[in-house]
Structure formats: structure tokens, C-alpha cells
Symmetry: C2
Subunit: 135 residues, 2 copies
DNA sequence: TGACATATACGAAGGGCTTCGTATATCCTC
DNA sequence: GAGGATATACGAAGCCCTTCGTATATGTCA
């Protein structure tokens, strides 16, 4: 039986570059206040506090983050885990630039950047699973 | 000896979604007129002819495409091959969403979409090469 | 040659993204 | 309880992206 759509949160839109920078901080730090996010972002490059605040407010409206208002300083949290958003972004790029071919995207990725021996082993294991399934 | 930067074309900016849709057409059809690009785009969804024209004009300014004006109907061509732009986009996504880890991106890609047995074999071969180099 | 089809050029509207200034509320401390 | 630090809310400017209408040039054909 299908679930009631009215109870399911709407799909989160693709985050913009700035929003993704904030999501990365939230994934790393976990639930955080605007100040914490802002301080972390400012480590890389200066930015106005209210800019970070405004972005988090907009991200709340979009459903990219959730907000706990029980304290004076609201606490924000990424709504989706890093893995979920990453999968979404990969699928999106697959459709926009690779005609849907995951294989080609993987080739470009492995050519473009060195992966650790450990990661390569993980990938090999995944390949075994995938090929095993269709043999 | 380093090459003279003044002779090297400036790096192409990351294409927007609409621009990427046009690039995909150019990669598939090769050098094309606005009309050809527009007809191909319209197969998927209706769009105004001048919209496609304007986009191609802007893409020319940005250096995403080159334009041959020797005919009345200008002929456009993608400046970078599909593989180059794809690599650029993958590196970009790597930095924006994966903390630079190609391994994690690959895992997400292979989980997200089925790859053909042939592609999986290609990936395995690439893995052999990569691991061979550091053994 | 005149009329029509078709090309490019260009301006502008509308919307989204990013940034920031300012207003206002709340907490802490002396 | 007054003042300063710090929080949220909100509006607006500036820029880019997308779309389209219109003006104008050029080719084609009866």
C-alpha cells in the first residue's frame, strides 16, 4: 500500500554551491548554531554573519535543513545524510552530463583524482557484488 | 618551459544546466547551426528559437563554444570535448560535495545506477592499472 | 523585384542566488 | 534595571540565468 504523500516531506531541491558548503559543515559538525557554522565557514574565507544566517533561513524553507528553535540560538541540522545528498548529486550529474552512464562517470572520476588503496579495494569489492548479481 | 598564458584560451566556466543541455547536443551532432541545435532540443521539450540562439551567443562569449560565421547561419561547435568537460564537472563535484574523495563518489555512482557488464569490466581494468602503479 | 521565410542582434522582464545593512528581541552582567 | 553583546527577522541591491519579443539583415522564389 502506498504511503500518504501528504505526510512525506517534499523532496529537497538540489543545493546551490553556497548551500552545499553549509551542508558540508553540518555533516562534519552535526547539529550546530548559526555562529558555529559561520565560524567554521570563516576558516576558509571571510563572510558576514547575517549572510550565513540568511542562507540557513532559506535552506530551512527549502527543506534542506531542519531547525530547532527551543533555544535562543536556533540549532540547525542537515535534513538528509551526506550519503543521500551525494547520491542525489551524482544521479543529477549522471543525467545532465553523462547520458546516464555511471560507468563513464566512474572512469572520469578515477582518472581525475587519485583514490587511496583502501578506496580502490572497496570499489573492487563493490564490483564483485555487482557482477556476481548478474552472473 | 612554460607556455605563454596570453596565448592559451581562458578556462571555460562551469556550464549551467541549460548550457550543458546544448553541449550534449553539440557533442552528439558535432558542429551545428542554431536551427539544428534547437530542433534537437525541441524533441524533448518545446522552447523558443531565439532562446536557443541567445544561449549560444552567451556561450560563445564565455568560451564554451566556438562560432564559424562564414555562412549566414553560423555554425557552432563545443570548444571542449565531452571527456574534458565531464572530467571538469566530476572534479568540481568532488570538491563541492565529496571532500575530494574520488573513491566515495565512485561508490555512490555505482550504487545509484546500474552499469553495464562491459563498463564494469572497463572499471576493473582501470583499477588494475591504478593499483599496479603503486604496488 | 516584391513578398516571404529565416537568420542574427539586442533589450528587457522575471526569478533565483548571494550579500549585506538595519531593525528588533533577548540574554548577561555590573 | 541599564547597557552591551548577541540572537533572529527582514528588505533590498546586484548579479546571473532564462526566456521572449522585436528589430533588422539576408536569402529564396514566383
Amino acid at each position: 500500500m502506498a504511503q500518504d504523500d501528504s505526510l512525506r516531506p517534499p523532496p529537497a531541491p538540489r543545493p546551490t554551491d553556497s548551500e552545499l558548503a553549509i551542508l558540508r559543515v553540518l555533516w562534519r559538525l552535526g547539529a550546530s548554531t548559526v555562529r558555529q557554522v559561520h565560524d567554521e565557514l570563516s576558516r576558509r574565507e571571510p563572510a558576514g554573519y547575517t549572510t550565513t544566517l540568511k542562507l540557513l533561513q532559506i535552506m530551512t524553507e527549502k527543506g534542506l535543513v531542519t531547525r530547532n528553535e527551543s533555544q535562543r540560538a536556533h540549532v540547525y541540522q542537515a535534513r538528509l545524510a551526506a550519503e543521500e545528498t551525494q547520491s542525489q548529486l551524482v544521479r543529477d550529474l549522471l543525467d545532465r552530463a553523462f547520458e546516464g552512464s555511471a560507468g563513464r562517470l566512474v572512469l572520469r572520476a578515477l582518472e581525475s583524482r587519485p583514490a587511496s588503496a583502501e578506496e580502490l579495494a572497496d570499489i573492487r569489492k563493490l564490483l564483485d557484488d555487482l557482477e556476481g548479481g548478474q552472473r
